[in-house]
């Protein structure tokens, strides 16, 4: 049993897991309110990564510039890609899903699948089918900087040869946690957030209480899109590349996370995201050393099996209450 590798994978798993949690929140917010699996959400995330890449490229800031400029540009890129994805997501809702509110459930789902293919092709027209390499904005030392080594709290055990806790892992978590706190403040402590929760519980009753349903749904799409945009920017920097088809895998993993946590449950989506991130990292990095014949190629199968098994045996997820279908 290789414990060093195990802890290494825990660190990687938490970083990717928080990324997945950001995307999963977009699924769960939208599903909670309109009961639509927004199949195009993963593609919105992917376009967020593309947008952040070209935004940083346009500013021309590289790792040569001063720290203040780099941090400023990254924050600007984060905000810009959040705004971009929020508007894109709300626009898709306005163009397609809103017209299908009263149609059977499958109609908006089919439209969402259609949009997912449209957006993938938009990305190809925009940047071509090859992977987009992230602009070199972070200094090389930053991405390869092992924080544990600096602190040396474990008597030199966690140095470069053993566990790495990179500065870029810290970056992912430093961006994700404020966003999660901000979002839960928004949903639980603002007027419009209360309206969202009311609409999710009972759309008609909320409308009778004077809540503008269409506006509330639009806000859910805006917030979900913004989180996807942030995740896109972070994923681009973290993986230092992005590709037109990355939205499919990330999207499905995030959807699995949302289902695992109980779809519609915000806290569940975050926990589910972290769990899926951990499982992903373990299956990619740690399992091959434990299970003979195991390899990263089985990761997709494992995560899709989790998706299928949770849906079959515990459709309400880990933290949801079972509900019966209303007539």
């Amino acid at each position: 049993m290789n414990w060093t590798l195990f802890f290494q994978m825990v660190i990687i798993g938490i970083a990717t897991g928080s990324l997945i949690a950001l995307i999963a929140l977009g699924y769960t917010l939208v599903y909670g309110i309109v009961e639509l699996i927004n199949f195009a959400h993963g593609e919105v995330f992917m376009l967020g990564a593309f947008f952040a890449g070209s935004f940083i490229g346009v500013t021309g800031v590289t790792s040569e510039n001063s720290t203040l400029q780099i941090v400023g540009t990254l924050l600007l890129a984060l905000v810009a890609s959040m705004v971009f994805c929020a508007v894109l997501n709300a626009l898709i809702d306005r163009v397609a899903y809103r017209r299908l509110r009263n149609a059977p459930r499958l109609a908006p789902l089919i439209a969402a699948i259609g949009f997912s293919f449209i957006l993938q092709n938009v990305a190809i027209y925009w940047k071509g089918p090859n992977p987009l390499i992230a602009p070199k904005i972070l200094p090389k030392e930053f991405t390869q900087y092992n924080i544990l080594k600096r602190w040396d709290i474990f008597g030199g055990y966690f140095d470069d040869k053993f566990i790495r806790f990179m500065a870029k892992d810290v970056m992912v978590i430093a961006i994700t946690i404020p966003l999660l706190i901000g979002m839960s403040w928004f949903v639980y402590h603002t007027r419009i957030g209360t309206a969202m929760r009311a609409t999710a519980q009972d759309r008609e009753a909320a409308a009778l209480m004077g809540i503008d349903i269409n506006r509330t749904i639009q806000v859910a799409f805006l917030v979900g899109g913004a989180l996807a945009g942030a995740a896109g920017m972070v994923a681009l920097i973290y993986n230092s590349s992005a590709r037109f088809n990355m939205g499919f895998q990330y999207g499905l993993f995030a959807f699995t996370a949302a289902v695992l946590g109980g779809i519609g449950n915000l806290f569940g989506a975050v926990v589910g995201g972290l769990l899926i991130g951990l499982i992903w990292a373990m299956s990619d990095g740690w399992m091959p050393t434990v299970v003979p014949g195991w390899g990263a190629q089985w990761t997709n199968t494992v995560i899709f099996s989790i998706l299928v098994l949770v849906l079959i045996f515990r459709p309400a997820g880990l933290f949801g209450k079972a509900t019966t279908e209303k007539v």
């Binding site: 009961e35 639509l36 699996i37 397609a96 809103r98 017209r99 299908l100 509110r101 009263n102 149609a103 059977p104 459930r105 499958l106 109609a107 908006p108 789902l109 089919i110 439209a111 699948i113 259609g114 949009f115 997912s116 293919f117 449209i118 993938q120 092709n121 938009v122 190809i124 409308a207 503008d212 349903i213 269409n214 499919f248 499905l252 959807f255 289902v259 390899g295 190629q297 089985w298 997709n300 199968t301 899709f304 099996s305 998706l307 299928v308 849906l311 079959i312 459709p315 279908e325 007539v327």
Partner: protein, 407 residues
């Protein structure tokens, strides 16, 4: 009401129905004659599209099978490719000398024939349909869609990863083709990949058989049960239709036809590998069903023809004219950069999924029943008219007040 009047109306109803079905039969027969004469026409006029028609016919087979699941029973299956790959690999396992099972002597000699293996693949895909469907069909529509997608990813992944049995990413080659049919004299009908004419007729025959079986199924007790479940599951269940087993029949039959198509495909291309069976195939077939007319088998065939011919013929034939158009307008200034230069090297086949995605969205928004809708299905997909709502709140209030007055 007097008895005689009821009788008269009933007779009139059945007479009308009979004339309608005669009318349809006539149309189908005319269509059939035109289609079956096509190879002669193709050779005579030198069109040279026969080779491209073969994949289109296979798409049509898949689309007819998916229509049972999505159109008749109303279950959205977006991982249909799973059953296609199972059929294709079953055929490979049973007939290729390279297959794991033949090398270990598990497959009896008589099964190693194309036609016999095809039957086995058909049944095997149906069995997998039951295995996958039985636990999942209790799920609500959108969850079911995601589960099918999950299986659509797991199954090809399995064939890629279990390399010891499946040959891994390189797959299995040397799959048996149909044995040549001897003709009087020295000649025979052979089925190598370049024998477009014989493959065309083989697929036409298989397709007609499928069409016949599916239309008969639709009019059977089972077919009516599917429609009832699709329209209102709870109402159907309270009328004594068992929802899960009815859906399971639809799912397994749909799967079996995909397996059937897979085995024919396998015999045609003679080598299978997992990359041929991606998520995009599921979506391609789904857009045929939805664009053509969900639930209307002739509409679905039209959808397969439209999308298949764009996929296999138009996108290839239209690329050179578009490229030359691009070259002539390459010095026109536009606000979006140089469009001419973009068009001069653009391959239309890379737009396929953009166009199919757009088709899915547009059909859902503008014509939910598809281009050639079944009347019943179109009305369902429109949604409940009684609860129709506008975009703004005031109008809805007025509307509701008006409805209350009516009631």
């Amino acid at each position: 009401m007097a008895v005689s009047s009821v009788q008269a109306r009933t007779e009139a109803f059945f007479a009308e129905r009979k004339s309608e079905s005669n009318d349809r039969l006539r149309k189908v027969l005319i269509g059939l004659i035109v289609v079956s004469l096509y190879p002669i026409l193709d050779q005579w006029l030198g069109i040279g599209l026969l080779g491209s028609l073969i994949p289109i016919l296979m798409y049509a087979l898949l689309a007819m099978g998916l229509n049972i699941v999505v159109g008749y029973a109303g279950l959205l299956d977006i991982g249909y490719v799973a059953f296609f790959i199972i059929g294709a690999y079953a055929q490979a396992f049973l007939t290729s000398p390279n297959s794991f099972f033949i090398r270990n002597g598990v497959v009896p000699g008589f099964v190693q024939n194309f036609w016999v293996a095809m039957l086995f693949s058909w049944v095997l895909a149906a069995i997998f349909g039951v295995l996958i469907g039985a636990p999942t069909l209790r799920l609500r529509g959108d969850y079911l869609a995601i589960v099918t997608l999950g299986f659509g990813e797991i199954v090809p992944d399995f064939f890629t990863n279990a390399a010891g049995i499946t040959g891994g990413p390189r797959g299995i080659g040397q799959i048996a083709k149909p044995p040549a049919i001897p003709l009087p004299g020295d000649r025979s009908i052979s089925f190598s990949s370049t024998d477009h004419v014989s493959w065309f007729y083989l697929l036409l025959a298989v397709g007609l058989l499928t069409l016949f079986v599916i239309t008969r199924l639709y009019d059977s007790r089972m077919g009516r049960a599917w429609q009832a479940i699709r329209e209102d599951e709870i109402a159907a269940a309270s009328m004594g239709i068992p929802p899960v087993s009815t859906k399971l029949w639809a799912f397994a039959l749909g799967a079996s036809f995909a397996g059937f198509a897979g085995s024919v495909y396998s015999g045609y291309v003679q080598s299978v590998y997992p990359d041929q069976f991606q998520f995009s195939i599921s979506i391609l077939v789904l857009s045929m069903v939805i664009l053509g007319g969900i639930g209307n088998i002739y509409g679905v065939l039209a959808g397969a023809l439209i999308i298949g011919s764009f996929d296999r013929i138009l996108s290839i034939k239209l690329t050179p004219p578009i490229n030359s158009l691009g070259r002539t307008i390459s010095d026109w200034p536009t606000p979006f950069g140089n469009i001419g230069e973009f068009l001069s090297t653009h391959e239309l086949s890379s737009d396929r999924f953009f166009i199919f995605g757009l088709a899915l969205v547009l059909v859902m928004i503008l014509k939910p029943g598809g281009l050639f809708p079944s009347k019943q299905r179109a009305a369902e997909m429109q949604g409940d008219d009684d609860n129709f709502e506008f975009d703004d709140y005031e109008t809805n209030q007025t509307l509701r007040a008006a409805r209350r007055k009516e009631a």
